[in-house]
Symmetry: C2
Subunit: 127 residues, 2 copies
């Protein structure tokens, strides 16, 4: 697979990552996501990593970077479905994913996006 | 990967198939999906196959079977994101996917589910 599908759910984009995010795939995800944000005029992105048993520092950095890019494009990214073991590993690796919003699952992430996009002076990303 | 993630989006379940549905994976998807239908009390399932470049007769049969199972469980399955080449191949293989509802993408599939679940005497599957 050379592209991860980006699904439009209402006014948001949903990405379910199920395979290892190697370099090329991460790059194409960045490209595809930014293009689709523009094309669909979306302001929210959900990235589900519930299928990932391992998130190393490279993938962690990639996800942080995508979150920053999405933020600059006036949208909010929420990372959802992180397994407990993944959270533990990330912190042990010294990655606190600062600036990346998280939610337990897609449902809670959707609720978070809907709430934050309703607010006046939209919240783009936590500092 | 031994399980395909099943994401709860509002009152529906969303499955994005990105890897080849071999025997074991298809079985675990059936199991997981039926369990999750019960647990979440959902009445709609969206299966996105936009990442699949090839759908052979085995996968086609599996998708039909899952649709029938979901239908028996008083829910509606909508297959979304089928590539044109896949549709052509399926018909050439003699599989018309009768009884399986389809939509062009997740957004249209969601709209279809919302419409059909609003109707009195809910439509479960086309005959």
């Amino acid at each position: 697979m050379d592209h991860i599908p980006i699904l439009k759910v209402d006014s948001f984009l949903l990405v379910s990552i199920q395979v290892e995010l190697h370099d090329e795939l991460a790059m194409s995800l960045q490209d595809d996501l930014t293009q689709k944000l523009l094309k669909t005029n979306s302001h929210g992105v959900l990235i589900d990593i519930s299928a990932l048993e391992i998130v190393d520092s490279y993938i962690g950095r990639m996800l942080s970077q995508i979150s920053a890019i999405v933020g600059i494009m006036d949208a909010t990214m929420v990372l959802v479905g992180m397994r407990p073991a993944v959270a533990i590993t990330l912190v042990e690796l010294g990655m606190t994913m600062a600036g990346v919003r998280t939610a337990l699952n897609v449902d809670k992430g959707l609720a978070l996006l809907r709430r934050s996009l309703d607010e006046p002076g939209r919240i783009v990303a936590a500092p």
